[in-house]
Symmetry: C2
Subunit: 228 residues, 2 copies
């Protein structure tokens, strides 16, 4: 390959990564806005999240087409191909994180006029910031191809799952004890569920980082480690 073509190819690969990071940055904003919409009852932020979801869907298509074009025209070998496959996979997880953010924003609109009991949902808000941090770390690990950070993040998802389980159990108890706020509890169960799913998608992205660096598929592997 001559230098000119090789430089062009590098630029194309970089632009795919950049587009993915742009999409990731937009999702971080979506989650932060969805959190404000829900816990500070800022309806205009909920509307904004719902509006912005279309842009994320558009970015997913654009990114996917870009990657497929690169594969078709450049026929990348080994590690470059793994990069393109990983970006393709990650774009799908990012888009699904966007779906969940939209679900949370819709719930925020639904309960915008209801009084939220003080501190009753502090744990859910804390789960949400935990999940947001997980998404940020996943994107960062991807950007820096940081396997150790990806593995730590994969392990952290178990903690998210545990907290999700405790929260939903308490919400079901709430429904039994306070049937008058059953709808609100149910809404919060859907929010907790969305957060648990977002954690899974962040975990998936970390699994692609490991695949990218090692060529090893650690999906469905219990406790993948640095020594694997």
């Amino acid at each position: 390959m001559n230098r000119h073509i090789s430089e062009q190819f590098d630029e194309e690969l970089q632009s795919a990564r950049q587009l993915m990071m742009e999409m990731g940055g937009l999702l971080e904003q979506q989650l932060s806005n969805a959190r404000d919409a829900l816990f500070s009852q800022q309806s205009e932020k909920a509307m904004h999240v719902i509006e912005t979801e279309k842009r994320i869907n558009g970015l997913e298509k654009e990114l996917d087409e870009h990657c497929i074009q690169i594969i078709a025209r450049r026929q990348p070998a080994a590690s470059d191909l793994r990069m393109m496959i990983s970006v393709l996979r990650a774009s799908s997880d990012l888009e699904r994180i966007g779906d969940e953010a939209k679900r949370i924003a819709r719930t925020a609109l639904k309960i915008a006029n209801q009084a939220l009991p003080d501190d009753r949902y502090a744990e859910i808000e804390s789960l949400m910031t935990g999940v947001e941090a997980m998404v940020a770390r996943a994107l960062d690990a991807f950007a820096r191809s940081d396997v150790d950070s990806a593995l730590a993040n994969i392990a952290a998802d178990a903690d998210i799952d545990r907290r999700y389980k405790t929260i939903t159990e308490r919400l079901v108890q709430d429904m039994q004890r306070h049937p008058d706020t059953l709808d609100l509890s149910m809404s919060m169960i859907w929010v907790a569920r969305a957060l648990e799913r977002i954690g899974d998608h962040a975990k998936n992205i970390c699994e692609y980082v490991v695949y990218l660096a090692r060529g090893e598929d650690v999906r469905h592997t219990r406790n993948p480690t640095a020594n694997n």
Copy 2:
């Protein structure tokens, strides 16, 4: 490309499709077993579904590796590349259908010793057979690259979503009226949710069929039609 290599290449493409169809067939069994486990309270079938999920995860990895190998070694152009990308995407949706089947099987185990009220959950069972039919049609459309059938199936998902919405609204009413069976209603809400998700995955697979045949990405398109 000489004839020998070209024949080998065709065989490899065919074997990827076949592996995907094998995975699809296994998932159809999983869903049927999960339904028997839940509505006929056959716990041994629930156990079988939970056991079999590992095999599906293994098939996903095998299929993905096979596709990536083909892309790396054969550098397929245009339609063959689209086929490999579509199989890669479909394998992820199939694996997630497997996750949902396992969730339903776990719920079946949890409520195995509870008396199910007669006909109370007939609508959910009917939703489940509807979703199973959707998965079967999606796999069939993929196998035959049948765009018309894929488009009809994409349209049918809206009906699944409507039925899901009605069912969950009724279950929430049930919870308010019969707090004594609140746990059971909650379990059924999770089942309905899993079914709605399975419908979405079947729809995704149909979108790949359109992409495969036309090179057109119809994800996030409202009412894609035969004239698009």
